[in-house]
Symmetry: C2
Subunit: 195 residues, 2 copies
């Protein structure tokens, strides 16, 4: 199989991470999600806990004024740059799957990059999050909307593009067709694509 | 195979119609595109040529004032209603594939309906249209953009939804992955979906 990098952007609770992990296992390639955090920590010399706190966050106008660091960049921007560097490095080395962190945009000029977006109806995402039982918020719908809004804002801040616009991706999938079916479709895309 | 209706919305020049025809052939189900026009003509009693002229057009404010008909609706709205009726009727009868005409929205409450959107980078669409040699416009890019704009306006006028927003579809595909690969992915979706 030709070398590829498959990026997965995903709505909160859509199962995008699980789909990525299952696909990585089935194609026998590395999977990068949170793992990028520790690699990025080494890259930029920040503590791993600082990276985690600033992961997929953007600097507000206020914090831009108050919390710039010695090299003149807010921590969240430094984290983005360090993660971008890691994404470029790991994608140079081998085929892999990367979830989130604007990887589709960072690798948009790489012809081996396959860009995907996973979403699902809100009601299904509420059910999935409820069944997992890890989030104790009373209003799960509001919580999910807030998470999506933050992801869209992060993506648009760093890329200038609209998160979830079909034309930004090779494939977008509503995971309510089934997580296994979604994995099968992505796998078929990797194997048969002409890009 | 369980009964299904697969709808294809598509950017101009993305190969959406060809993909739909190939898929219909491979799954051995009827394909509806322009065929809806003549069926709709019988439905609403308008001449087929009138339907063709008003197919996928919306009424401007001016024509609303000038060209309302005896039952108080502009011809383009009558055509939309007649086509909607035909879409509901053919989808009741058997599995089928329907291209364009807001079929995804018209059938959005039908659990057997699979909604898809096909797009492709502008440069590839220009090449496809140029190779087909049927359009004699000097500025093909501008021509394609105008066609897309009209399709988006038509969709948004009748549905209130954003044309090409990933979340409106079960699957969106960039057909630059290959027309055959796109047909294979849609076929896999039809066969394996859990919706």
């Amino acid at each position: 199989m030709e070398k590829f990098i498959l990026t997965i952007a995903r709505e909160y609770g859509s199962g995008g991470r699980l789909i990525g992990e299952a696909l990585a296992k089935s194609l026998n390639v590395p999977f990068y999600d949170k793992a990028i955090i520790s690699l990025a920590a080494r890259e930029c010399g920040l503590a791993e806990s600082t990276i985690e706190q600033n992961d997929q966050k953007i600097s507000g106008a206020l914090s831009y004024g108050l919390f710039t660091t010695v090299n003149g960049l807010p921590v969240s921007d430094q984290v983005f740059l360090a993660q971008s560097q890691v994404i470029r490095e790991v994608s140079e080395k081998q085929s892999c799957i990367i979830v989130g962190r604007c990887a589709d945009y960072i690798l948009c000029n790489d012809p081996r990059c396959i860009r995907t977006f996973i979403h699902a109806p809100l009601a299904q995402r509420v059910n999935r999050i409820r069944e997992l039982g890890q989030i104790t918020e009373d209003d799960l719908e509001a919580y999910i909307r807030k998470k999506d809004k933050a992801r869209a804002a992060y993506y648009e801040h760093f890329t200038g593009l609209e998160w979830g616009r079909a034309q930004n991706y090779h494939l977008t999938v509503d995971s309510s067709i089934g997580l296994d079916t979604t994995v099968d479709l992505l796998s078929e895309l990797v194997r048969k694509r002409k890009i």
